[in-house]
């Protein structure tokens, strides 16, 4: 509302000033939005617990931005070419990042789930993949 008034006023004034004022209004709006977002308790923050400190296979910023690309690339290499290197393997991620409490990367504070819940992303890895490391299926088949 405030922004519209400012822009309206600006259009009445010299045309040259218009872009600058628009920018100013935009900055003001973003500032307001930022303030609303900072209200405590509105947004659940992801709880990222690194239980095994040490260097990940790639720098942290690369992993945050591109872990899905690395996993996807490795997935195709493993599935179709039988390349089973460990660096970008999902099972190795799970082995390192599973919570010692729950033994899983899922759950409220799970390494994978807490962040994906925050980002509103639902990966379908867990439809097939085992979120707990080293689990050997106990079921035996009886024909």
């Amino acid at each position: 509302m405030v922004a519209r008034e400012i822009v309206g006023a600006a259009s009445a004034a010299q045309g040259r000033l218009k872009p600058a004022l628009r920018l100013l209004a935009a900055v003001a709006l973003v500032g307001l939005a930022g303030f609303a977002g900072a209200e405590p308790g509105r947004t659940p923050k992801p709880s990222i617990t690194i239980e095994k400190p040490g260097q990940c296979v790639e720098p942290t910023d690369v992993m945050r931005r591109d872990h899905m690309k690395l996993l996807r690339h490795q997935r195709d290499k493993t599935m179709h070419e039988g390349i089973r290197t460990k660096n970008h393997s999902l099972n190795e991620c799970i082995a390192c990042h599973a919570s010692q409490k729950t033994g899983s990367v899922l759950g409220k504070d799970g390494f994978c789930q807490s962040c994906h819940d925050y980002a509103a992303v639902k990966p379908d890895c867990w439809d097939c993949h085992q979120p707990k490391p080293g689990l050997k299926a106990a079921t035996g088949v009886k024909p």
Binding site: M79, G82, Q130, A137, G140
Partner: protein, 247 residues
Amino acid sequence: MSENNSRRGFLATSAAALAGLTLAPGIRLVEIAAAKPDHEPVTAKVRWGMLIDTTRCQSGCTECVSACGKENGLSEVTKPRTDAQWIRKIDLKELKTGRALSLPMMCQHCAHPPCVDVCPTGASFKRADGIVLVDRHICIGCRYCMMACPYKARSFVHEPLTDQNPEVPRGQGCVESCTLCVHRVDRGGTPACVEACAAAGGGNGGAMLFGDLNDPESAIAKRIREVKTTQVRADLKLDLGVRYEGI
């Protein structure tokens, strides 16, 4: 890291040297496992195959089926029409003569697999080393491959799963079948069913032989050179990776 690698390399080399000890010309203590390094892709130089000696396969023995279930996290088959079966035992009887035999039936890992021909998405594929697999990331669960397979080798997963083996991801809505225990083979191992069959056979070895059909020195290649073996439904000319002896 490099220290680790060199240590591993040393161990692998010494193990291979030990395994390669020749007792007599052509007879090794242990067959050298054809393990490829993890970072190298599989090649068509290898063609994995299996030979099943039906004269040694006992009716009523289901060691191979149990081992498959345990290795791949398949649950007990309570509903045979819908539950996943990667390998099953079949008892055959020739009505006229009464000759009976028993054999395990599973994916035959064809060189020209009909399941790959019909797959609309490319999920059903043959690896360079001859292992036929389903890429569940691409499978849409249409089940054309199940209908195309002459060996009834494929199953559809109808219900959500939770107790997968980490090395064998499986899930609802996809078709699956015998993978020749690809996760073991890639590390130089043998399929779980072959291992269980050999264990059940005591010191005499089992009824199942696994190896590289392309390597003239492998036990399986030698055996199929010496005795008459059969491809099931050879008339379809699919060039199977799994062969049977004595049927």
